[in-house]
């Protein structure tokens, strides 16, 4: 079981170090950092590879997750289940975040006593104890010092940046925060986050597509009342082969929302889920994922990408990239960045944005032979084009297409979800009269691996 838990900064400074079993050497933190920093450098040609989350060095097993600019590391001597230990340190990080509101190096440094206190309650002799945030409340005595972060413009910590800033600020408050001026604000946040993976082949045909979604909740409801969350009534779960709904498109009842599979947080009570697609739960304090789901069924990719390459003259090639936003005009894509590697022989690439297109920047990175095309905002339904002139060091590049691409696109679309999964309602059960907390339901679609091949 866990012998030691250490929190390190990305520069390798030990911020927190808690020893539970006293059976690992004193220098484990340094050993860990050296290993991770120089991973792959020992074996030829493998430098730059990232260290796996679990490795062994001199008889000590190191497990780590990297989050919020920090390494959360556990060391163990036994052959304990890796998932158990990784999940546990992830939970440690989550509890710290619940308590402090946000997670960063600064936050941990300012609250290190609180963090030690939490670590003592969360883990005893290397074994995970009761880790629920509301249970811990009665055993934790240090109060969190909140760190006010000045969000850099355009690099907001929240994915819901533009139109829900106030809500985003609210979600970064501590679970134990004392009410200001005696006003308690009961509220609950439900975020439906969908990550889209799409691969188009060279002719724009959809090779693979998948949505990985999750329903995240963050509850600040006093007294932890039961709630009921209702999803689409036409939701069907099961893979294509087994699903009775397979091939059901176009039948009278309309199109069902098909999920390949889903899983739930342990607080979810699924008695009625099969009958009416509702989930009853007692929301624990703090942030948690109520449900993860995944679907590979057909959906409309939010962006289409077209490319064309032509060798126009010796030493010169021309590349045209078009991006089309295929979502409703009322929605906007933000943080949209398109990247594309160019042939090794490229010495220069000059980019020309189409006429009348504003709020866009392009960059040619010579060291990595890559162009980058960034948009502040893309409105639904709009078309954009970029013309790139490549200067090549060779007269002809025989396999110019093989050496280019793939085009990768990253984006965030707020208040839009591709799968059509919705929270129909969120009901507070057995509530007292007049109790009507704020309920925020937000949707967002993000790119995961959004690729178009050349």
């Amino acid at each position: 079981m866990i012998s030691q838990v250490v929190v390190l900064s990305l520069r390798g400074d030990t911020i927190i170090s808690r020893n539970y079993r006293d059976d690992v050497p004193k220098n484990t933190a340094e050993t860990f950092f050296r290993k991770v920093r120089f991973w792959g450098a020992e074996t030829e040609g493998r430098s730059g590879e990232s260290a796996p989350p679990v490795f062994n060095s001199d008889g000590v097993n190191y497990y780590h997750i990297k989050t919020a600019g920090l390494f959360f590391v556990a060391m163990a001597k036994t052959n304990a289940p890796p998932s158990l230990i990784l999940e546990l340190i992830q939970r440690v990080a989550a509890v710290i975040k619940d308590y402090c509101g946000t997670l960063s190096e600064d936050v941990i440094r300012k609250n290190f006593i609180l963090v030690y206190e939490l670590l003592d309650e969360l883990i005893d002799f290397g074994y995970g104890q009761n880790t629920s945030t509301e249970y811990l409340k009665s055993y934790i005595f240090n109060e969190p010092l909140t760190v006010t972060t000045v969000a850099a413009p355009g690099k907001s910590a929240s994915i819901f940046a533009p139109n829900t800033r106030s809500a985003a600020a609210a979600t970064s408050k501590s679970v134990v925060e004392k009410p200001k001026k005696g006003v308690t604000r009961d509220e609950i946040f439900v975020d439906i986050v969908e990550k889209v993976s799409v691969t188009f082949n060279a002719s724009g045909y959809l090779l693979t597509s998948a949505i990985d979604g999750s329903i995240k909740m963050k509850s600040y409801l006093s007294g932890n009342p039961d709630i009921r969350v209702a999803l689409n009534e036409d939701l069907a779960v099961g893979s294509t082969e087994n699903s009775p709904f397979a091939g059901d498109y176009g039948k009278g009842g309309g199109v069902s929302l098909l999920l390949d599979d889903c899983n739930f947080h342990s607080c979810a009570r699924l008695k009625d889920f099969d009958a009416d697609r509702t989930i009853t739960l007692t929301p624990p304090d703090g942030e948690f994922v109520l449900m993860n789901y995944r679907t590979t069924h057909e959906f409309k990719p939010p962006f289409k990408i077209y490319t064309a390459v032509e060798e126009v003259a010796p030493y010169v090639a021309e590349l045209v990239i078009k991006v089309r936003a295929e979502f409703p005009a009322s929605k906007n894509g933000s943080n949209v960045v398109l990247k594309m590697p160019l042939p090794k022989a490229t010495t220069r690439a000059s980019c020309h944005i189409g006429p009348g297109q504003t709020g866009q920047t392009t960059e040619w990175k010579e060291s990595t032979k890559e162009i980058q095309w960034s948009f502040k905002k893309i409105s639904g339904g709009s078309d954009h084009a970029l013309r790139v002139k490549l200067t090549l060091s060779e007269e002809r590049v025989p396999n110019i297409k093989r050496e280019m691409g793939p085009v990768s696109l990253s984006f965030t679309i707020a208040m839009y979800n591709v799968s059509r999964l919705v929270v129909r309602y969120l009901q507070i059960l057995n509530k007292e009269k007049g109790y009507n907390p704020y309920r925020w339901v937000r949707y967002v679609t993000q790119s995961s691996s959004y690729i178009s091949r050349i």
Partner: protein, 707 residues
């Protein structure tokens, strides 16, 4: 600097003394701040141990936050100050009887974490009292205290004769965490096996729902060891656990999957259904979790895929790499794609893999080439795939060309029918581009093997023979020259002469020895030399590098452990056996250990009468010392062995008995015999002379083809 630190410690001491006796309210905050400072020093490894006695003087505090910091300090420093630690026992014992359960629990936790062996006598009594406490917080701490005691002094725990009541706590304590901690103690003291009995498992199953996810993982581990007596029980347990597969916590899901898989081993049909049932939950975990959490799940899926690739053949698209997958996940996915490739999905998979070859991440690009080659090797009718593989050479990128050459070599060894295609492709390779030793060695071997290849390319390479850094390449060059000599003696005689001369001058033992051996073989009888060096080639049926089913089965037994990630059985790296074997992690190549184990039976100690005679002859005929100018006289006795299935053929015996001095120094000669394929000579250097076991094995396997 030292002075400054000294002063600072002095300051802290004074401040501690000033605050020590004070019970004033306004001093609480000052105390908290002071303690905070000391603990922050502790974290950055500044030695604050000298403050121990002052800290203990400050124990009389009622503020819990301060108390916690103090106890944190004490548990951290007690075992380096055993005498002084005695001073805090009194306070801790008193706190163990406090009215506030939080303080009782806290004091008990600290007391049992002191890790000072001569203070243990003070610990047992409060623990025993804590086990009877009204409050679950104290009981759960007390029971874990037993595990801590056991780690320090197991006899003390057995003297307490308390495991019976701990068992009762597991089953009867109303608090689930107390029950789980009691179970933890039992697993540490008695081991999992002792708990996996019906009288224990059945009642635990009844309260399964009350455990939190961490405790559940522990309980499931016990269940996984349970041997069911009747098959109805299997279904009962599975029914009981089925909803755990929908859990968002990967630790719970993997532990449940382990139970399902091990339970159903005696029922092959159900076992296969379990495979179908667990696919979706595992894939959901992989796609929803952060990369670090997904990694062990992918590694376990990888094991299942290798164990039963057919069951995953239609799921191949799930193993496609995402653009943003980290390399440790991509690598596993590539291997899964290779494993599930069959005649139906092969072309789709190879098309996808061909895209990854352009990956900017060099190891991934190489692994993708490797995967395509691997699929070509396994596919019976792989013309199209070989074509795809050979096309990679046209990309003209060094690392891709290198990996492709290596795969071409394996391909030719196993599937000689691709000789024309490989010959043609090789002629397009710009030989000067290939620099990497393994790839260059493969290329030279190919040149030697493909008779149509122009021997003059070898001339350039022989010219730089002495500058060639890798002995592997030099070895291959020697062999390639000899092979070409047999084909066109007049044209290549000069070349061969130059090669052998350079080889004999070589400072590397193996290269030097091979050159001498060729020289003498040729001098003795060119025709017989050809028989030995260029026998009729027999294609390799399987490569031992691929995972053996025994190895996979062994790892499968350790499902849901590090073994699966490291691809090593647990005893190789983890305590309690605590063998400090270094395992560099999963990024390392194929495990040498299991491969070596497989290698062993290939050389059985069977020594029929005739061979015994040969052996005697050999030992008497010690090789002459004439070649040994450099003073390398230490020679291991040469052993001659034959595999059990055959008798040594005439040529072989002739070569070995008549000319024992042909055998390389310091080496063991093994004669593998396969009729009618020809004679196989393999020699390997004794393990002590080779830094890595894999090196030794490698040579064994390469030789049958090279000679």
């Amino acid at each position: 600097m030292g002075d400054k630190k000294g002063n600072e410690l002095g300051d802290l001491k004074t401040q501690l003394r000033n605050l020590a006796g004070s019970q004033l309210k306004e001093n609480t905050q000052a105390k908290r701040d002071l303690f905070k400072k000391i603990i922050s020093y502790m974290t950055i490894s500044i030695d604050v141990a000298p403050l121990f006695s002052e800290m203990i003087m400050a124990t009389t505090t009622t503020d819990i936050a301060t108390k916690k910091m103090l106890y944190h300090y004490i548990t951290h420093h007690a075992n380096s100050n055993p005498e002084l630690a005695l001073l805090c026992i009194n306070t801790l014992q008193k706190d163990c009887c406090d009215v506030d359960p939080t303080i009782r629990g806290l004091a008990l936790r600290s007391l049992s974490s002191l890790r000072v062996s001569n203070l243990l006598e003070y610990v047992t009594e409060p623990i025993q009292r804590g086990l009877q406490d009204k409050h679950p917080y104290v009981r759960r701490t007390a029971v874990l205290g037993l595990a801590k005691l056991n780690a320090m002094n197991p006899e003390m725990v057995s003297d307490l004769d308390i495991m019976g009541s701990v068992r009762a706590m597991v089953l009867n304590d109303p608090d689930a965490q107390v029950s789980a901690n009691a179970l933890t103690v039992l697993t540490e003291v008695e081991g999992y096996e002792a708990l996996a009995v019906e009288s224990f498992v059945t009642p635990i199953l009844k309260r399964l729902k009350s455990y939190n996810e961490w405790s559940l993982a522990l309980v499931l581990e016990v269940l996984a060891r349970y041997k069911v007596t009747k098959s109805s029980e299997i279904y009962d347990i599975m029914q009981n656990l089925e909803d755990r597969l929908q859990h968002a916590n990967s630790a719970v899901v993997l532990a449940t999957v382990r139970v399902f898989l091990l339970l159903t081993l005696p029922l092959p049909e159900v076992h296969q259904q379990v495979y179908e049932r667990i696919k979706a939950p595992l894939l959901t975990l992989i796609s929803s979790a952060i990369n670090e959490i997904a990694y062990p799940v992918v590694a376990h899926l990888h094991l299942l895929v290798l164990r039963a690739p057919i069951l995953f053949a239609t799921d191949f698209k799930y193993f496609y790499c995402k653009y943003n997958d980290p390399s440790y996940i991509k690598k596993l996915k590539l291997e899964m794609l290779t494993a599930v490739a069959d005649s139906n999905n092969m072309y789709d998979i190879v098309t996808e893999l061909s895209e990854y070859v352009a990956d900017v991440d060099v190891p991934i690009a190489r692994s993708s080439v490797h995967a395509v080659g691997q699929i070509a090797l396994e596919a019976p009718d792989s013309d199209n795939i070989v074509e795809r593989l050979l096309l990679f050479l046209e990309l003209g990128q060094e690392h891709i060309t290198a990996e492709t050459l290596i795969m071409m070599k394996d391909l030719l060894r196993k599937c000689p029918q691709h000789k024309p295609a490989i010959t043609q492709a090789l002629s397009f390779v710009n030989h000067s581009v290939v620099q990497e030793p393994a790839a260059k060695a493969a290329m030279v071997w190919l040149i030697g093997e493909l008779s149509t290849e122009d021997p003059y390319v070898l001339e350039d390479l022989i010219e730089t023979f002495a500058d060639e850094e890798s002995p592997d390449v030099r070895l291959e060059l020697l062999t390639a020259c000899v092979k070409h000599f047999f084909l066109r003696p007049p044209e290549t005689q000069k070349l061969l002469g130059a090669a052998l001369a350079a080889g004999c001058r070589d400072s590397h033992v193996a290269v030097h020895d091979r050159a001498i051996m060729y020289y003498r073989l040729l001098k003795h009888d060119v025709r017989k030399a050809q028989l030995i060096i260029c026998p009729e080639t027999v294609s390799v049926s399987t490569f031992t590098e691929t995972h053996s089913s025994d190895e996979i089965e062994q790892l499968f037994q350790q499902f849901n452990s590090l073994s699966v990630l490291y691809r090593h059985p647990g005893f190789a790296f983890a305590s309690p056996e605590a063998s400090p074997v270094t395992v560099a992690g999963p990024a390392e190549d194929r495990t040498p250990a299991p491969a070596a184990v497989q290698e062993a039976p290939a050389q059985p100690p069977v020594q029929p009468a005739m061979e015994a005679d040969l052996l005697g002859d050999l030992l008497r005929n010690d090789p002459p010392a004439d070649t040994d100018a450099s003073g390398r006289v230490q020679r291991a006795p040469v052993r001659l062995e034959s595999p059990s299935k055959g008798r040594i053929c005439a040529t072989c015996a002739l070569a070995a008995v008549a000319h024992p001095h042909l055998l390389p120094h310091d080496s063991r000669m093994t004669i593998h015999h396969e009729l009618p394929g020809g004679v196989f000579l393999a020699y390997s250097r004794p393990a002590a002379a080779v830094p890595h076991a894999s090196d030794c094995q490698h040579r064994c396997f390469r030789w049958p083809d090279a000679v």
